[in-house]
Every structure is written in C-alpha cells, then in structure tokens.
Symmetry: D3
Subunit: 244 residues, 6 copies
C-alpha cells in the first residue's frame, strides 16, 4: 500500500523528518511517499499562513491523486483536511486528528502539548472535530523550536514537567507541532501517561481505512465535486474539481 505523507509548508527538511517518522510507524508492505508544496509559507505558525497553505497543499495532493491508496497530512494544523477529504479519491487523515482520535481509545480525557502561544488554533481544531469534551487542556510551552534544538536537555525537562502537570488531568497527551515530532520515543519512558505522535497515529489509521475498503460518500458535503469551473489552477487540481 502506498501512503502519501504531504507536508503543507515548503521546508523539505520537515517533509523528510515526517517521512522518516511515517516509515518507522508503517506496517509491513506500506510504502511511504513524501511530498512538499511548491509555494506557500516556509513554516506554518499563524492563522494567515495556515489559510494560504491550503492552496499549495491541495495542489500537492492533486499531483498524487490516483497514485496512492491514502494520504496523510503532515502538518499539525491538519490544514485543509475537510477539503482534501472531499476532493481526493482516497482516504485522507490529519496528524492531529489522528492523534486525538487514538487518544480517545486510551482513556477518558486527553491533552494537547505544543510549543509557542498558538494555543487558540489547536483549541479550535479540537473543537471543530467535536472533541472539546474529551480534551482536558491545550498547553503551549513558552519555547521555540530553535530552543529545543539548541538546548535539548533543558527542553526535555521542560516538556516532561509539562507532561507531568497534564497527567493530573488527562489520561494521554498528544504531542503537536513539527518540533515535537518523534520526541514521544525519548519522553515516553519518563511519562506517566501515553504520549501520542500524530504521524504514527495517522499512518496507522490510514492503513486501517484502506483495509476497511469503504467507498466515498456520493452525496453531501464530502462527495467529490464535479463540473466546477476554475481559473489559474494546475491541471491536476482542476481535473479533480471537474470530476469525471
């Protein structure tokens, strides 16, 4: 099975890290293919960048439509997830969506831990999934991605302290944001609750959806568009909007 792991920003290094993470998580027989948008924000950390990135991400996905069995959005804001799910002919899974749903299978409440102050966007994301009632807290550590790289020991201690605090209210913690990707392996041994990595969860859930072999809805807001006219979009994206 081929799964596309699509970054939503233009930084190739982040794509590469996500692909590596996805390959570690994937089941036997799953091939992971990475993709990076040709234009848009270098890193998404604001509402404005997230909205702009949707276009580039959908262009990227459109290039691979029909060539993979599932797609994973390798961006912790799950950029344009509903649009991609409607437009693509295969299952599409967001990495934060995936981690939150997996966390629901482990206990009563989960928490989301990220870096920076964009807590509101994650709260809206979780609420948009209808999961606000399961989410004990979204915490944004006052630390930049650069700091986690420059002082990894100090960063690890701050993260563990935050996880310790969250574990008083939550039965699982979702690590959100590219800077924390893959850090679950380092942190888990010293955490009292399970830590969830979005890429790993998304790859496994994508495999599950492929295995279930369900059709797309042919009616409603997630049915594939057809006959839509556009201007200035790539042929691949335009083709998906025109439909069969």
């Amino acid at each position: 099975m081929r799964i596309l792991v699509a970054n939503a920003n233009t930084t190739e290094a982040i794509t590469a890290a996500c692909v590596a993470s996805a390959r570690r998580a994937a089941g036997p027989g799953t091939e992971i293919i990475g993709a990076t948008p040709a234009f848009g924000p270098a890193v998404i950390s604001t509402r404005a960048e997230n909205a702009i990135a949707a276009h580039g991400l959908l262009e990227t996905l459109a290039q691979h439509a029909g060539q993979v069995e599932a797609m994973v959005l390798a961006v912790s804001y799950d950029t344009a997830l509903d649009a991609a799910r409607q437009l693509m002919p295969c299952p599409v899974v967001g990495m934060t969506e995936a981690a939150c749903l997996a966390a629901c299978l482990l206990g009563g409440k989960f928490a989301v831990l990220t870096l920076g102050t964009n807590v509101g966007s994650y709260e809206e994301l979780v609420a948009g999934y209808g999961l606000a009632g399961r989410c004990a807290a979204v915490e944004g550590l006052a630390m930049t991605p650069q700091q986690t790289l420059a002082e990894p020991e100090a960063a690890r201690e701050k993260l563990l302290a935050a996880i310790e605090g969250l574990s008083r209210r939550a039965d699982a913690v979702v690590l959100a944001g590219a800077a924390l990707a893959g850090m679950d392996r380092d942190l888990q041994p010293r955490a009292k609750v399970p830590l969830l990595d979005g890429i790993a969860c998304a790859v496994r859930l994508a495999e599950m959806l492929v295995a279930l072999g369900l059709p797309k809805p042919s009616v409603g807001g997630y049915a594939a568009p057809s006959g839509r006219a556009t201007q200035g979009l790539s042929p691949a994206l335009q083709r998906l909007l025109i439909g069969n």
Copy 2:
C-alpha cells in the same frame, strides 16, 4: 471612508452585484471599492473550492492593504475570515458573520436560508462563530441559482414558503449565498420576520468598527504576523507576513 468589498471567486459579475448592494447600504461618506481574485474557483460551492479560494482572496486583500479603512468579504462562506482579520491592518467583516450578529440584536433565534444542499458548511460556520445556540435552523432550498433567475416568480414563492416555515422557530432569517443577495428587498414585505442581507450588515458593521477606532491586538492569534518566510507568494502578501 473607503471599504473594500472583496469577492472570493473569480466571477466579476458577482463582484459587481455585491458592490452595488454595498453602495445601497453604505452610510454617507463611505466609498465602496470592489475587488476580484485573479485565480481560483469561478463560484464557491464546495469545501474544496472554499479552501482553495483562501489564497486568491488573501492575495486580493493584500493588494489593497493600507489603502482602505475596512474590508468586507463578499462571499457567504466568509472564506479565510480569521486569516484576513489577523493579516490586514484594518477591520475585516464577513457577510454571513455580519448578518448573524445583526440577527442576534433582533430577537432570540435566527435561521439561515440558502440554496442547495451545502447546509453542513453553514452549520459549521455558525458553530465556529459560537452562535449555534442562537441558530434555530439552516435550511437549504432545493433550487439552483439558475432556477431563481429562470423562474423568478416560482423562486420567490418557494423562498417565501420557506421563510414562513422558519418564522415559526426563528425571529429573523439570514439570506445566505450570492444568489439571494439583495432579494431581501423583494421578500421582506411578505415576510413575518426581518430578513438580513449579509452585504448590508457587513458594510454597516465595518463602518461601526472604523468609527470605534479600536487598535488591533498586538498579542495572541490575531496579532499581525512578523518575520514569516514564504515562497512563491506575491510581494504584497509576502510583505504582510514579514511585517515591519
């Protein structure tokens, strides 16, 4: 005061209609300027088109940043409203947001009436504004924009029947979607509850915000971005992401 009325699709005729509507609604001394994106969907009626249109709309707004006192999004999905509000140096108002908030001032509950089956997107929009508790219903009439033009009499009767039904549950009805823009004037005399036109409400609310003269937040998720790197965006949009 100059207010930009920005369409989110590439159909100039819709921009022109919205501009005309805005001019009728505007207070004395308000100048309305129209704008149409250079690329994207011709008409937005699916989740996929809405996500794609964000980029073109933000490019369009960026061209006018600093040259107007407020911006109105002339698209009933309020495309990329949070991103525009964060990014622009002036107030930005969505037309459906505006009509819903105005409706809150008129009674207890409002309803949203639109054409077509994309009811779910409007429900999510209203819920995203935190107004689900005020919204009695979103109803999508099984009628295309083409039909309203081809058989205006029949369309009017169907709309009035729907409004009659909604007025049993709602104290006001928001007319949503370009096809219904301006129809409030025709329908109001025979309706038992007030009918709200998004463009009119948005222009008046934009004027109010300009009059209040409030600053933008300088912290949090709606503070202007700064220092963001990008690739392949227009100089105008890039400049706003870099900030001063």
Copy 3:
C-alpha cells in the same frame, strides 16, 4: 436620528455620564436623549435589584416609545432587554450585549472585566446571549467603584494588570459596569488588546439597526404584545401591552 439612552437605576449622575459617553460615540446627525427611572434601586449590583429595576426601566422606555428611533439600555446587566425588545416599536440594544457582539468582530475570544464579585451574573448574561463559547473569562476585580474614584492611579494600575492577564487568553476585553464606563480611553494606550465600551458599541449598533430599516417580527416571542390586561401600570406602559 434620536436615540434614547435609558438608565435602569435612579441615579441621575450615572445617566448623565452615559449620555455624555453616548454623545462622544454617536455619528453625525444622531441626537442622544437621556432618561432615568422614577423608582427602583439607586445602583444595581445584585440579582434582586436587577429584577426589581425591570419595571421602572420599562416604564421609562414606555414614556419615550414612538418618540425615538432606537433605545440603548445604559445598564451593564442589560436589564429586561428581551422584554424591551419585544415591547418597543423600535430597535433596543443592551450595552453589554453590544460590546460582546462587537468583540466577536475583532478576534476569536473576548473577556469581560468588571468590578466586584458579581461575576456569575455576567457569565449568565453572556451565556444567555449564546456567546459562552466566545468568552474566555469574566473577571471581577476586588475593588469598589468608590475606590476607583478615591485612588484613580492605583485603580488604573490594577485594571491594566488585569487586562494584561486577560490578553493572554482573549483578543479583546469588554469593560462592564458603570464604574468603568469611558475608562477605555485612558486604558487603551497601554493595553495589548482592544478595549470595548458598552455605550459606544450600543450607540453605533443602534445606528446600524436604524439604517438597516428592518421591521419587527410580527410572530413569535418578540412580536409586540396585544390585548394584554394589567393593573396599576402607567398609561404609557399599559398602552404598549394593549397594542393597537
């Protein structure tokens, strides 16, 4: 356009301050008329006083019915707002309602800041407007109106510190309560988020509603009463309950 600014308590000085504030906020061509109830609480700060004040306020509004184009309730509890909206032949806007709705146009979440411990009443007010999901916090500063007058410098610092704290969670702050009326002008330059004054917002929203020229609903819970019998009410109020 004439707008009535109606106090709900019997303290003329508060009416005068609200009228002054309304005049500063009003657009050109708007005439502000003040009114004070003849009986009821001197200042409303409890649930009991708020319930009692409804009668006197509605009597006051009834005296002006038909002589103004809109009414603003100059009381931060928005006393008897739904009753006034049903009963009066013109738009009625509450000052806290107005500030909360205006705040919705500025970002994702707002907070309410007031003096004293009656936080619960404001929480219920906001929840009653269906806006609990947009309200990050209601904070009641442990300070009396008298203290703000006696030690204005200390009061200002305490308020700014509270606003600073709230701006970590909210994109705008509503200043609620007569004691804080007009203080937005003093505090705004040192605040990181926009501060909203209820009277200013209410006057501007009342102007908007007059400009939109919408009819009242003729059915449902906000349609004007008719044929209601009463005992011991003023002729003006009785007349509105009897209807035409």
Copy 4:
C-alpha cells in the same frame, strides 16, 4: 410549616386554584398561604409581562418574608426566581423548576407541554436551569386556555395525543402553565409516562428544603443583599435590600 404560594399575576382566581392544588399536594402539618400581587399583568404570557411582573411579585413576597418557612412561585415562568432566592430569608422554589427537577428523578429525558406559542420562553427557562440536555422537547399546543374550558373533552383528547407523541422521546412530561394546573389527575390514567404538576412538585420540594434546614449562602450572588439604597419601593421590600 407555613408555605407561601405566591402568584405573579393579579388574577385572584388563579391564586385560588394554585392554593387548592398546593393544599392537595402538601404533607400533613403544612399550611398553605396564598398571595396575589397588587399590580402588574392580569395574566403573564409574554416576555414583557414577565419582566414587569417581577416587581409586583417581589413586593408580594417581601410582605410575607419572615412569616413563612418557604415560598413557592405559582407562575409557570418561575418569574424572578433567582432574585427571590437571593432576597428572601427562606427557601424559594419555582413551579416549573420543581417539575423539571422531579422529572429528572424518573428517567432520562423529560418534555414540557404547554398551551400557546411561547415555546421559546420555556426553552430558555429550561436552558437557564442547565437542564437543556435532559429536555427532549418543549411543545406548545395550539389552543387557548379559554378553549380548554369551553370544550374540555376536545382539549383532553388533544392533550393526550400530544402526550402520546412526547412519550416516544421522553420518560416524563411536565405540564406547564396555569391552564394545565391540576390536569395531571385527569390525564395520568391514559398517559404512558408520568405527568408532573409544578405546584405539587414545588410544594414537596419546599417541604424537603425546610426539612434539610440548610443555611443561605453568606457569600456570592445568592447571599442576601445589604445596604442597598432604593427609591419608591415598599418599606418591606426596601428593608430586605437594606438587610440587617
């Protein structure tokens, strides 16, 4: 134990009917005292009347403060309940509140059945009690109180049909409104779910609160007011606002 059964409108006949109903429901040793406001609406059926009635009702309650062990509000809108609870030195119970809480002890969901179109007010009442999640429906039968008296047989059949419909969604039905008071005895034998009469439930809950002997809170929004200045209120009401 003496329990005041206080009407909120000025119609003595309704007071008498409620008192009779209360006496049937009361336990041995409970004395029921009726009271009728001296001014206000003759019958409350609109938001405006409900707001006006609060004053007269609180005046009435104030006359009896200290002379009864508990008070029951004999008005299905539970007019000014929070204010009365704060102000009076004894427990105060609303009749619809009481029926809804009793219904919670009988199954999962309850419904509210009333006459007329003022469904929205009851929905807001139930939501204000935080019980919206337990309430399957509020149904307003298109029938006036006069019709129930003029054609009792037809009225009974319409009510039973409505109850039959509601019992598909609800495990109990609250009969709300003076016109339905006491009708539970007639209707219950042919109903599939328990029918709740507000006066009966309120009297029994008032007895329970007296038996529990709990103090009033001395802090927060329900603590008795003190030192409040007023104008034009009765000495009895003024005294309660001044406190000891």
Copy 5:
C-alpha cells in the same frame, strides 16, 4: 413508608452508617431498611469496581422489590442507577444525584467535594445527569478515608479550607463519598455556603416521589423489562427481567 437504603459494596459498617444517617434525615412515619450486597468490591473507588458492583447491587435491590415503597442507593457513584430505576417497581434515588438536584434549588452553581483523585468519575456522573453547566467544580482532596479518621482535626481544617475555596465559585457544596457522609453537621457551622449530604437529600427526595404517587413509564428505556432470558442470576433478579 419503607425506604430501602442499599449499599453497593460489601462492607456492613458502611451500610450501618448510611442507615443511621438516613434515619436522622427521614420524615416521621418513614422506616429505613438497610441492605448490603453478598458479593463484589469491599469499597468502590475505581471504575472497574463500580462496574462489577452493579450486579451485586441489583441482586440486593431485587431481593427487596415489592417490599419497600422506595429505594436509595447508598453509594456516591450512584452505581447502576439507571438500571435500578428501570428494573424496580418503585422510585429509586441516587445519593449524589439527590444532592446535586437539591443544590440546584439553593443557588446558581454547586461544587462537589470528595476525597482522593477519582475526580473524573464524579465529573462524568454530573455530566451524565446533564448538570455540568450547574457544577462549578469537582475537587478531590488529597486525603484518604483513613487519614480523616486518624487525624480528624487536621482533616476538618483541610475540608473547611477546600469549602472556603469552592464557595468563591459555588453557592452550595455537595459532600461526596462514604468518608464524608454525615460530616456536613460538623462542617456547616463554619461554612459560608450550604453543605449537602447525599443520604439526607436522597431520603427526602424518595419520600417526595412516594408522596407524588406517579406511575412508572410504560414505554421507552425506563419501562420495566419483560420476557428477558438470563443465565445464572438469582430467581428474584430473573423474575424482574421476565416481568409479569
């Protein structure tokens, strides 16, 4: 009237304490009968024990079906309350349910205070009753039942400090858990808000339900089962599932 007070764990001493508490609270003419399950957890303090205890509790209730007029569940998790309510031919009241509903009659918000860390289970219980909107907080004091017995003075001070803190947000405090049963009498004199004892509230509410004399629903999820086949259950429990 006979009321069964049924413990859900196998510790006879807890049954005896609850029976004593129930007798103090009961009205004249009420006889309290205690019952203890024959198998199951000695003390319920985890989700697992609560689920296991349901069977033993329902066996115990079944032994008394038809011999009492009402049943009170003397377990603060209200174990299997919905099942008991469906199955038994008489009213069934849970002790925490009872205290929460009684608290709703005393003010706007209540809090729940218990020992230990199982705060989540109480939050879910309150939410399951649809009362999350009325509940300001569930607080679990870091103290074991053993500690409250070994150092009663220190325990009392810790409890009073917690109640003091909760009274800033809540108008009443429910004391939950066997270890706090009856402690309301000791603590109330020094508390600023009313303290609610579950057993006392449940007994009084059970008396109220008996006095109201309402039938069980004959349809829906709370109608008595009939014709259900089982294996390995006691004849008494089996008989209730088979029905008449």
Copy 6:
C-alpha cells in the same frame, strides 16, 4: 497478534458470528479468540441487562488477561468499556466506539442505525464518548431481529430506505446491534454513504493500538487498580483488582 473478541451476553451463536466477522476483518497474522460469559442476560436490550452484564463480561475478560495482546468488546452497548480499559493489561476497544471514531475520519457527521426503540441508550453512549456534536442522528428501525431473519428481503429494503434518509444528514452510517452485524457487505453497494461495521472497525483499531505499543497510564482513573479487596469474585478478576 492475538485479539480476544468477547461477547457480553451468554448466547454462543452471537459470539460465533462476531468471531467470524472479526476474522474477516483482521489483518494477516492476527489470531481471533472468542469468549462468552458464563452468566448474565441471554441478549442485552435494556439498561438493566447492560448493567448486569458488566460483571460477567469482566469475569470473562479477566480469564484471558495476559494471554492476548488486545480485547474487543463484541456488544453494541460497549458494556463496561471504561472498567475493562482500566482493568486489563492490554488495549480494549468497544465495537460502537470503534465505528463512531472511524466514521469521524470519513466526513463531518455520522449517524447510527439500529433495530428497536432503545435509541436513548445509543444517544447516551455517543454523548458519553464526547461525540454528540458529530452524530447527526440515532435511528431505531421498528423491526425485531427475528423479523430481519424471517423476511430478509423486506428487512433489507427497510434498512436501505433508512440509510437513504440518514444520508441526507450524515456522511457515514454506523450499523449498531448484533442483528445488523455483517450486513454492511450486503447493503453497501446500494448505499450512498459508507456503512461501518463495529466489529471490523474495532479489530482494526485494536491492531493499531498494539502496533503503536503505548503504555497504560500509571496515574488517574484509567491506571490499573491495586490492593482492592473483594468478596465472591473469581480468582482471575480478584487478582486484577489486587494488582501486583
């Protein structure tokens, strides 16, 4: 990997059908082991039976603790899921929980379709998972399991009509209840939205959780119990409550 598929009722034929369904869904290398409780209801279709069944189910699971890598609850009420999740040393997945979470990955809203009138229990189940906001409807077809077997053609048509109706509001439909198990294969070709089978989803999600290799929480309400005393339980269940 060994996965236990545990029935919660005592009917071996249902266990066998679920095991067969699980085997069809399982990935290569997964061994499915079936288990049936020794006592309890023959078929669970009421609240009372569901509560009673918890004990027998947990006894059954306890017999297999340590011998399988994951457990699936083959009962559409997800009986005692939270207790099992806390108690067992491996992941536990409920079949309706699994189908609902999988449905969240396919669109915006899902619906639940079942036989019979116990709609309320499923609504509470979905709400307990925090997923009420994603669930467009729970529909209970007026048809018994016996009727589906006796007249399969008629049953299929009724089911398809219900699915057609639900697809106007939902992007996916969960088939709930043993009688519908496996029917997704028959119905899917004529349905416009994907149909979800609980057993298939649960087995795949259990495989995912095993693959993720996450630890259990060691704190909070889902940490394994320890040191709990019991009476009359099997040695296996007792051992899990005592812990290591």
